[in-house]
Amino acid sequence: MIRRMAWFVGAIVIMANLGGCGIGYNRVLFGTKTNVGFDVDTKPPVVQLNINRKEGVIAPQFENGMKLPVLASFRFESSKSFSPNIGSAFATGDAALTLAALYDDDTPTLENEPDGWMQRLELIKKFNSSLTLNHKPTIPDNAAMLFAEKGPDGEYFQQTDVRPVFFGTDTSLGLKIGWSGAGAFPDSAKLGFNRKELAWVPVSIRDESSDGLGPYSVKTSSLLATIDSGIGQPTLVDGAPQTDIQYVQYFATGDAATLLALQQNVRMAMIIRLDPNRQMLVEVYSAPYRVSELARRIKKWRDETSDQEPNLRRILITDFLRRENIGVSTAFWLRTSNEPGRAEQYQKFIDENDIE
């Protein structure tokens, strides 16, 4: 506990020494603190969950209420009796904008360059989190005296001088699973998760005009930190405890942060986890394209002109897939002829509907 308090106190002391305060005027302070305790016990039967999450930002608000982008997300799920998974994303600047804009979209590529990873270096320029101001922002004298320190060029906002950024995370994950007998499932399972995320970032300004009258653009660094972890349902096999555990963290600054934010797998920390239970949330079917003669006959029958209701034959296929518990679409079913059981399914449908 003392060590963890020291982490935050130390960070604040470093920040104060490096460049004064100015938080909320010419600097952004953004932080989160998460504590999760998850306890499942069979004797007596109990499921206990405690989540303590703090999020906060102190940042300047510019004309017309404009604010620089920050983003934080936290996700906790447990789809079975004990299969917890945790995801967290923490970002500022272009990385925050990218995460929010793309959310669960695929990893983007430029048109006509679907496989060009180098083109992503160009794409990140499209995610520009700068705010454009009509007037140069000023800081009230009283606040300036107390908080916002000027740079060597006499300006409150960073122009050409160098200013420090502090960006850090602190994570601990603890797991204990216990079996008292030889049963397949554990009698008790405990999970403890602690994470702190902190960003302290100067705000930079640039005059976009040649006459010194604006407009001005203000911006903060692109910073990104994510964590995505999952623990599968623990079991006892031949007396040996088994469970799947996956854990991945990303930490990046600058263009690397924005490039990582473009990657769908990184953004999944906000949405769907990478852990063993992923299939529980989204069913994923993938198979090579293959159309057999039987499938071709069904498709031809479905698409040919009929005096029956135009969509009746399509509905008959959908109804068949539902009755037979084939959980895929008509389009997928008719084009994955190499999948196990497909030939028998096609034949049954042909027989039921007297297809020639």
């Binding site: 695929d106 679907p114 496989d115 949330l281 989204v282 069913e283 994923v284 079917y285 993938s286 198979a287 090579p288 394209y289 399509r314 959908t318 959980g327 895929v328 679409s329 008509t330 389009a331 997928f332 008719l334 084009r335 994955t336």
Partner: protein, 48 residues
């Protein structure tokens, strides 16, 4: 429960028909990407 279906290595002349079929089946999003090794196309459909 959400569901995604992906058909791999679809011949070019079948892409349009396949996409139409996915949409007729109720897909809310269909993406098409060229497979760099086979030169054929991968089609991914998302169902709510």
């Amino acid at each position: 429960m959400a569901r995604t279906e992906e058909l791999k290595n679809v011949p070019k002349k079948e892409v349009g028909d396949t996409v139409d079929d996915f949409i007729a089946d109720g897909a809310t999003k269909v993406t098409v990407n060229k497979n760099p090794t086979s030169g054929k196309w991968n089609i991914k459909a998302t169902f709510p």
